[in-house]
């Protein structure tokens, strides 16, 4: 790692002031720290957000569930269990237990890795991303691989999720990195169904509108046919064709899990 200073603000206001310069925010660090180790970033100053109490916790209200940006995946999984089991499942299977104890929802959304789990949950549920400056609809927030609507220094302070009638997450795990190879989040609302796919597209997380249309008319796995358009990621672990194929498979499985109320499923070995 290159040398840097580390700041540990305890209030959002202090964090914001510290981030006004060239500093970079540090959430749980589960992606940023490995990146720093490889000397692929040279931030000068890191502003550690983990000491800010006002950015932590899960609260349920009539409008849905709000999760503080500094809430870890594990805390979110626990807090979401009753309100949105599909999203709780998603959070409970990010990375591994140690990653879930440090990594945060805000950090994950701000990073917007094209294979991350939270973006699928946020986009699939039509969440609202709350920052220190404004509120951004998920549909406007994700703007391509590692690209979001956030301005420099803008902090994700909370994420508000509407509560769906049913939802579930299905992911095929890339066995080395533990990121999804492809995963689908499906949520059914009274006014329609949303389907978000992560891991597949070169444009990052996306809504699969054709599947949404079919599922809004008939929420059953069989109606998910065809494949999404657009450029797909191809790497060591799967061709573009394979990923395109998996979009439908994962979506069908998520629908089935939503109907069964199991929250979701992941590919695993034995």
């Amino acid at each position: 790692m290159y040398a840097f200073d580390i700041e540990r603000p305890t209030s959002l206001a202090d964090a914001k002031a510290l981030l006004a310069g060239e500093a970079q925010a540090l959430g749980g660090g589960q992606t940023l720290i490995p990146t720093l180790k490889q000397r692929l970033a040279d931030p000068g100053t890191l502003v550690c957000l983990s000491g800010i109490a006002e950015m932590k916790g899960v609260t349920s209200g009539p409008d849905g569930v709000a999760i503080g940006g500094g809430t870890t995946h594990a805390e979110a999984a626990e807090g979401l269990k009753d309100a949105i089991p599909g999203l709780a499942y998603l959070a409970s299977r990010i990375g591994d237990p140690a990653v879930r104890n440090r990594g945060t929802i805000g950090g994950s959304l701000a990073n917007d890795d094209p294979s991350a789990c939270w973006p699928a949950g946020a986009l699939g549920l039509g969440a609202t991303i709350v920052t220190d400056a404004r509120e951004i609809a998920a549909d406007d927030f994700f703007q391509g691989m590692f690209t979001t609507a956030l301005e420099d220094g803008e902090i994700v302070t909370a994420v508000r999720f509407p509560v769906p009638e049913a939802s579930a997450y299905s992911k095929m795990i890339q066995p080395a990195s533990r990121f999804p190879l492809v995963a689908a989040f499906v949520a059914r609302f009274p006014d329609g169904v949303r389907v978000a796919i992560t891991g597949a597209s070169e444009d990052g997380v996306f809504r699969w509108r054709e599947a949404e249309g079919a599922l809004s008319a008939d929420f059953s796995p069989e109606v998910v046919t065809g494949q999404p358009e657009g450029p797909m990621i191809a790497d060591l672990h799967g061709t573009a064709d394979y990923r395109r194929h998996l979009c439908a498979v994962m979506t069908r499985r998520a629908v089935r899990a939503a109907l069964d109320g199991t929250g979701g499923l992941s590919s695993a070995g034995a």
């Binding site: 040398a3 970079q24 940023l32 691989m145 590692f146 790497d235 060591l236 061709t239 590919s267």
Partner: protein
Amino acid sequence: MPKDTGIGASTKRREDVRFLTGKGRYTDDIDVRGQAHVVFLRSDVAHARIGGIDTSEAEAMPGVIRVFTGRDFEGVGGLPCGWQITDRHGQPMQEPAHPVLAQGKVRHVGDPIAAVVAETRQQARDAAEAIMPDLEELPAVIDMKAALAEDAPKVHDDLTSNLCYDWGFVEENKAATDEAFAEAAHVTTLELVNNRLIANPMEPRVAVGDFNAATGDHTLYTTSQNPHVIRLLMGAFVLGIPEHKLRVVAPDVGGGFGTKIFHYAEEAFCTFAAKALGRPVKWTSSRSEAFMSDAHGRDHVTKIELALDAQNNFTALRTETYANMGAYLSTFAPSVPTWLHGTLMAGNYRTPLVYVNVKAVFTNTVPVDAYRGAGRPEATFQLERVIDLAARELGVDPIALRRQNFITEFPYQTPVAVEYDTGDYEGTMKVLEEKADLAGFAARRKESEAKGKMRGLGVNCYIEACGIAPSKLVGQLGARAGLYESATVRVNATGGITVMTGSHSHGQGHETSFAQVVADMIGLPEDMVEIEHGDTANTPMGMGTYGSRSLAVGGSAMVRATEKIVAKAKKIAAHLMEASEGDIELKDGTFTVAGTDKEVAWGDVTLAAYVPHNYPLEEIEPGLEETAFYDPNNFTYPAGAYACEVEVDPETGQVTVERFTAADDFGNVVNPMIVEGQVHGGLAQGIGQALLESCAYDEEGQLLSASYMDYAMPRAHDLPMFTVDSSSRTPCTHNPLGVKGCGEAGAIGSPPSVVNAVIDALHSGGHRVGHIDMPLTPARVWAAMNGAVPNMGAAQPAARTDATTEARSVGGPATRT
């Protein structure tokens, strides 16, 4: 009643307590007072000419002590190769120089260009980034077949081509083999890849060099499976340090699997620099660095043909293999695709004619050398795959076809030079059938089908040659070292015993199992025996741990030394009891005189040896310490039969291993618990090779699977509970313990049964797929189900893409900021 002590007991491991409490002492835990740290600048391109290296900026940076380049090692020996192969035409292999730091050219990503020694590791790394090498990039050769083309760029300009050797075995059998193929009733042909792997012991390599200017003594602490071998190779061939002035210590070592056998540049560098700078110098590899500097394993591309007569008897076998050496010859690299591979091609079968051709090829990749099994997994995989394919083509039961061709009489002289001393292949197959409940497979398949999954059963046999090795024989085959082992048994005055062995333990539990043997021979509690290893200063010359040799060879040396101890102790006891030596018996740590009630305790005899007041000094020396060297007169031949059951998800191609059963014949067993553990670990690595692990390069020679983001290590939920059984036993006939070795079996025996099972599953679902190259990732299986030919028979580059998860996910955020 299970045995609770000595040979045959599942004694709990004594080494566990220190590992479980954080008190192990691994090389990275060693800090020598005053040490400096080295960081290597490694090539990020596969092939380039070095114009010049500007180190001036780096030298001026904070904390930097000195920057070394290849120029500092002119006149210093290169890393030696320990095995010379003679080719089909009687010519020696081409053997390039392997400098400690690159000279003239870099030849693979990771080749060290320069080394920065600084006060701290961070300072060294900061400065390494400031070095400006002038690299004129050259076209790289990655694909082995392309590397042998007439106009291919040469990895080594001073060699005539990229061909290291073209080996034929047994060359005299070639014509007869070809003739048998011409007359065959059926010929099955299969082209396949044995995927390149990275051993990945969890402890990355570390080296600490130290030099005492006052005495001229060098010390190297290193993560090695064989400290004596490092002392010999580095002392004699690289740095010119006589062995009595060089101590090599390999303390607790966090796994080896072959990749810590070899002598590496970093060891020589730290030893050299410690003297040059008058400071201890430490190097700790990061995992990313390990991926491009630890020797890799496997990487064969093979065409295998099996000839059968009208009754389905195997009549001949013919193979052509391209074996990747990488950019330089690692310590034992040339022996792996030849003597550790060709000699096993008969397998468990009576095939009368075998011809093996191996072309070893230099490419711009990390050197390839022995990895758990080394040559034998490659032999087993191709043989057991082609037999399965033959059974499918002929419409016969794959187990019956194997049985029909089993070797049943021993000793058995194979057509590929080795003589199997003993075995019972029908015996292990019967155990397998029972333990794996093969009779219940059809019902289990129905259950899987009801869940929408395809289920397959794969079975294979294996044989390996272990207990490496008879020195005289391997000398004739080109080995530049002997392969004996040694032990010193030191009995202390109060009766406790210290055994010093050249075998190194890095997970195998020698400290426990070796003590069981010695304690058993004398009849003492095991805790009266201590095992010391890993330090050339206090152990006799030994060759180390690899090739499943520790108990068969090192244990035999220990038995021989203990026999000498017992013989001498009996003389002392006879004197003490005024009896005839021939009447003395030793049981449960007590000497008795046959036919009398006279007895004397072990401790009284050992005390007499060191306090020789009443002692036959005119006949024997005082003291009780003996050394033995043991050189085996044959290899050992563990063998067995394995069965794998998989489910394949027809929608995703995901393979899950539902059941895995191993029936092994290891001869006698000293500690059944440890033996089972060794098999479990081998199975995980073999299943990992079959389903998960792939070391892939792109066409420019960039290593794609360069971290755990892209190199898939088997994890707990990738594997089932295993059923392992080693009750079928034909003890080795030529070593005193009757043991054969168990360390590599699981890794050798498991890949074919996994692949056989997946192919069987696909056929059950109507997919007539002949073969899929490892690893059988979901994407490859899905492609095969859908008519694609995923990478089948293709040489490197293994990958058809240059994209990785690491580059995307770890590199991603940085590209934004």
